[in-house]
Symmetry: none
DNA sequence: TATGAATGAGTTTTCATTCAT
DNA sequence: AATGAATGAAAACTCATTCAT
């Protein structure tokens, strides 16, 4: 119990640092910020950051993976539902849009620093990023097989378009225009 | 004449360096590459880079502005044509797609390092980037005024969507799927 | 207390670096020495210098201002004394001579790198340098008003001459010849 | 004859560059100016400077030695005159003051960059600088031997004081106050 | 755990000097 | 002689990471 609450406290402190890092990354960008900026934002001593994370890179990796894995999980869960394809896609879109609304900083960081960073973190996490495309493409493919969706577009392209729509949302902060036609 | 060919040679060498920089930026990313990488790629001595440009930043600024200004010019020129709106948008899209085909490295660098770099160069060139949106939005607005385009979407959003489609092109290298419905 | 001794330790380390810098500046000159020379002289790592000062220039600025402000203070204090003018001038001269004796490196650096550096640091600190002339000129002016000093020389020139004598002291390391006739 | 006028032209061009260098040194300081500044000031191409001088340092060496040797020569010549000591010293002082009046830039450069540069050029030319002191001290010594000057000050100190007075002149641009009492 | 001082490799930029034309 | 492009060796400064306390 003591051990539990102690490790809980540790986890909380780590969370504090990760969240602070997200705010700083969103505000200044990953490259432009220093580790000391993160410590300041978190209100902890410089060196303490390295008690909870092993490197600056690891912070971004962690932030990305945490959220991305949740998304992969949700998409898989949505796919498993017994519902029309359009309904499923709507569900996925809704989750992503909600993510923006709920925590725009995390989403900004993920997109700007990972998803779009073709040469650095985007490369590192290419596999994970593709997993999401793959899951969406699978949903589309099933919809096409069931005759619910047109087949004049490949599932892969449809997934890309879907993701493109999401990008637009962020790019323009136009959250309420999207949900109508994700195909 | 001598003077002309001399300054021509200087311009060529500068071009050589800028082009080499584009290749390196496209390959490694702006932050990950060093000025010496650019010099090596161009096959010139380190210091010569600084004979032709005043800083690493200036290289990216120049590369961006050169291409972006051409694009702004082309969009304006297309808009001035006596043609249906859809034809105009098709013209703009065609130019952009051609740019990708003709020089994918420059486009990759512009998008990855400037257009999407919300915290660094994207901020610096925000004005220029918005100019392009504005020009496209103007085309759309005229089309709506003429009854050629639906009015259930604002011109600004249409421009965003248009740009989003362009992004997709790059993201997926799907050059032949776009030109059908740019609106 | 802990906080006090900690910041004291920090101040001491900064002092260590500043003092090392003075020795290196005196030995090699400001321009000829590298920051790494200072670090070596202080026996600390390169980067630590930048933990305590923000630039090489700042070191010289600090060294100069610390000592010069002390001198201004002493001159003002001497002036406030209830004593004959010649006594006051003698007091000022004594302080300056003592400074040489006590810390010749600092004085050498101040004179060679600041006071005489007409194009660089001398320009930066021109105001401070003039303050000293002004204070001495004031003492002389009062002495003239009181009839204690001849009035065939302006106070400003007298101050200059006074300073010139000081320079001589340094230039020739003739410490024991000065105090007799500072006017 | 052709050869003579050719080498005369070469000497003239070299003179042009040296004079330009003096102006630039006086204005910006030796360290702060670049060789290209000198070339610009002289109105010649960058590389041409190196046709006439072998290094930036050599320019300052040359400028200093040219003038200093003239001064040494004049002092020796004055000393050789059959005149009272005070007259001789007056002659030396007059020459130096005239030098200031005639070419203040050269004097400023010599004093700021050589005479006072204890760690760089001042060190290089220490011998030459001392020669001047020695010559003046000799004059004073003779004057003392002849009973024309007081002997309560050593000749070396008198020479120093003499030079100090010169310094003052420059420092304060008070050209008309000096010539009365060089002892 | 917590602190922040200490480390030093890495990067940009400058500029004297050389060299091809 | 003249030009200015080419070279590359410094040197200042940054900052992620480590470490002593």
């Amino acid at each position: 119990m003591a051990s539990t609450s102690r490790s809980q406290a540790a986890a909380d402190k780590r969370r504090l640092i990760l969240d602070a890092a997200v705010r700083v990354f969103a505000r200044q960008g990953f490259h432009a910020c220093r580790v000391s900026d993160i410590a300041d934002e978190a209100g902890v001593a410089y060196g303490l950051v390295y008690h909870y994370v092993s490197s600056k890179d690891e912070i971004l990796d962690t932030v990305f993976l945490e959220r991305w894995n949740v998304m992969l999980h949700v998409i898989a869960e949505v796919d498993a539902r017994d519902a029309p394809v359009r309904e499923k896609l709507r569900g996925v879109a809704a989750f992503i849009v909600d993510s923006y609304v709920h925590d725009p900083d995390v989403m900004k960081v993920i997109i700007v620093e990972v998803t779009r960073a073709a040469n650095s973190f985007g490369l590192t996490h290419l596999g994970k990023i593709r997993e999401a495309y793959k899951l969406i493409a699978d949903i589309v493919a099933k919809g096409q097989a069931d005759g619910e969706l047109r087949t004049d577009v490949t599932p892969d392209f449809a997934a890309l378009a879907f993701y493109g729509a999401i990008e637009q949302v962020r790019t323009g902060w136009i959250f309420d225009l999207l949900p109508q036609s994700p195909e």
